[in-house]
Symmetry: C2
Subunit: 425 residues, 2 copies
């Protein structure tokens, strides 16, 4: 943050933002998703712009968990596997997630962590393209994707090539016959840049390769259209926009045309064709059930299922429209404060978050959190703000920007209280 | 079940069991663990002998989950990673489990499913013994252990040899220099047979191999003494005797002397030495944290942590003494009913469960569950009864046997209502 930028803040922020406030009130009044906010229990005095890291608590969750604990676990006990549908939960919840990310039933299961699902999906992708030994991976990826791609490559004698997203199509054209799979993040976790899922998937297919997408920062935030985009494999997380709770189980998508060939490394008994036969050898289940691994964490999983109810009757196109309008408004506000954003201005290249550049992001965010605006930080210089259209309104956006402007204008963030704090994605 | 056995039941069950009832009352009155039962919320009218499959609900769990949901998730939101110790939960809860299974702090982390942990542990074991390519695996193992050993072997070019536990020492003496790891179940999930952890681990070490134990049916049921038995690696489950809730996270133990060499395949970012550095390459954390994978399912994990509080002040030797006394009593009762048991009579070879042989186990168990006694079935001919000394009393044992005797005597289990039902381990 240069002094000149701070001067802009000091000179003009209040005047600019008061006009934004009027516009926000109009947008909130006309918001077709305004009623969905009541499906979440948001603490008073907080503007929560970190739902891209941990979604807010859906109102249906506490009662669902209470039922899961007292009636299902405490009273029905082991019988719940049959009586309360525990056995079917991974595929049932998978289908609910599928409906949100544009996957027809029978192609998604819920369970495990994103890291585990990435490992399984990349292993299987390499097995599904025998003779091809290259994985093209996103150098800007959230690091766990790269760590797991490297680990799979080490096990299978493959090679991970870190190719910037802009160069993928070229590499596929030039050397695509060696590529088994391209593994990219749908939305860049740091900048909020949305990638061209349809175009890159088609480029992979043209080269005979598969496309595996990490949906952590898109699932639940806008339509993903996995089936329509001809995606092969995808993984995603349950605790960001889907608001399934801390560490909520992840999910994996396997396009129906690949189900018979999907061959994950983690051959746990829940993925067996005859799980109760207690057979000595592994035979994968015929459908998406083969992507199951071990016994899933049901309390976390049933919380996620209840959370997904917040999408009932919600048109994902309306979620997208609002997400763009919220981020448009926020970008305009922070530009008016003289700040630089790293998130693409172009709608087709923007997810549902905004990255604001500041050279002392930890201190600024700590000061902002103290004032009730919660976002997070991505080192070295990113203030990250996520906008979940299900519970964030336009007035929230302007108020968050106003408080940010105040902190910068008064240099409140230089207070010793705001020494570095760690935050978690 | 032959007719002659049924005749024995018809002839003598009531008289025999009334004397057992008197003895049970005396044992309950003198039980030093009787007060621990109050730490569990057991439904009225139920004798729960399936705590070896899904532990009963600990009384502390609902309030802990309520706090996790409303205060930690709902109110503190993302800040809980720091403010409420979410980041430290896997190692903190790992240490609590470690105290129960005889592991000094810093050697256990909690997370993921048993299946995932087995995969990671066997992969690492093979890497820790380069040049050795054989895994000796338990042919009587719960099948998921074998499926995952086979998968790891396929990835690493190793060989899984299914060697009955009685033959392991001989194979190690004869051909042990090819063996990287022996992977056995501490207690046979079907028969309840307890294996000689100390002796087999020593035999593995004599051959230069590692010993990896699956503790699913021993952790929480009696002292396991991992450190004292010089075990190298172990995995176990949180939802059986530990009563952590349906699908509660599993755990992995890595002996301190191996921590620097532990090299799991699932290199998720939570196991990174600098997880918030967002580095492009994976560097494992120096200690047990390297066994972490992705973001853990915190609601399930915090329920498990609350459940472990039931062990506070409980001497695991007292748990063992009571477990043997409960299973002794049950074995005597069912023998008096003329039934055959598959569980070793010898204390040193018995876990905390009893397998009763019956040729129509599903129907018998269904009839028994109808009468409030919950156990489970392992095909083709096992009625399985688990005895968690923390909440099962001696009178429960005799009453369960009495109801079993009644069902067999009256052939109530032949009723059409008791057609086959699936149950889950």
């Amino acid at each position: 943050m240069s002094d000149s930028l701070l001067n802009v803040v000091a000179d003009g922020s209040s005047a600019h933002l008061s006009s934004f406030r009027t516009r926000a009130a109009e947008l909130d009044a006309a918001d077709p998703l305004a009623h969905v906010r009541e499906r979440f229990l948001l603490p008073t005095g907080v503007i929560y712009l970190d739902g891209n890291s941990l979604g807010a608590l859906p109102a249906a969750v506490p009662e669902a968990l209470n039922d899961a604990v007292h009636r299902q676990w405490g009273t029905d006990l082991i019988r719940s596997w049959n009586a309360n549908g525990w056995w079917e939960a991974p595929a049932r919840i998978g289908d609910s997630i599928g409906a949100i990310v544009g996957a027809a039933p029978g192609q998604v299961v819920c369970g495990d962590s994103t890291s585990v699902q990435i490992f399984n999906a990349i292993t299987s992708a390499l097995r599904m393209r025998p003779g091809r030994t290259v994985v093209l991976a996103d150098p800007d990826s959230f690091p766990t994707d790269l760590y797991l791609a490297d680990s799979v490559a080490n096990l299978l004698g493959a090679e991970v090539r870190r190719v910037p997203v802009a160069d993928v199509a070229g590499v596929l054209r030039a050397e695509g016959d060696a590529v088994a799979v391209i593994a990219y993040n749908h939305v860049d976790y740091r900048s909020g840049e949305l990638r061209d899922m349809r175009g890159l998937t088609a480029a992979a297919h043209d080269a005979g390769a598969l496309a595996m997408w990490d949906l952590c920062h898109s699932a639940g935030a806008f339509p993903v259209d996995l089936d329509a985009n001809a995606v092969d494999l995808a993984v995603g997380c349950g605790y960001k926009y889907l608001s399934g709770g801390p560490g909520a189980p992840a999910f994996v998508y396997v396009a129906e045309r690949h189900l018979a060939d999907f061959a994950p490394a983690l051959t746990g008994w829940h993925g067996h064709a005859n799980p109760f036969g207690m057979e000595a050898g592994y035979t994968p289940a015929p459908g998406i059930e083969r992507a199951r691994i071990g016994t899933p964490p049901l309390l976390s999983m049933l919380a996620l299922e209840a959370a997904l109810g917040a999408y009932e009757g919600v048109d994902m196109r309306a979620v997208r429209a609002k997400g763009l309008a919220l981020t448009d408004l926020f970008i305009e506000c922070v530009h008016a404060l003289g700040l630089e954003t790293l998130t693409p201005a172009e709608h087709a290249r923007r997810g549902s978050q905004v990255a604001v550049r500041h050279l002392d992001p930890h201190a600024v965010m700590a000061a902002l959190i103290d004032r009730g605006v919660i976002g997070d930080v991505r080192p070295p210089d990113v203030l990250r703000f996520g906008f979940n259209p299900l519970y964030i309104g336009y007035a929230d956006v302007v108020e968050a920007a106003r408080l940010l402007g105040d902190i910068l204008e008064t240099k409140a963030y230089e207070d010793a209280r705001y020494a570095v704090r760690a935050t978690v994605t």
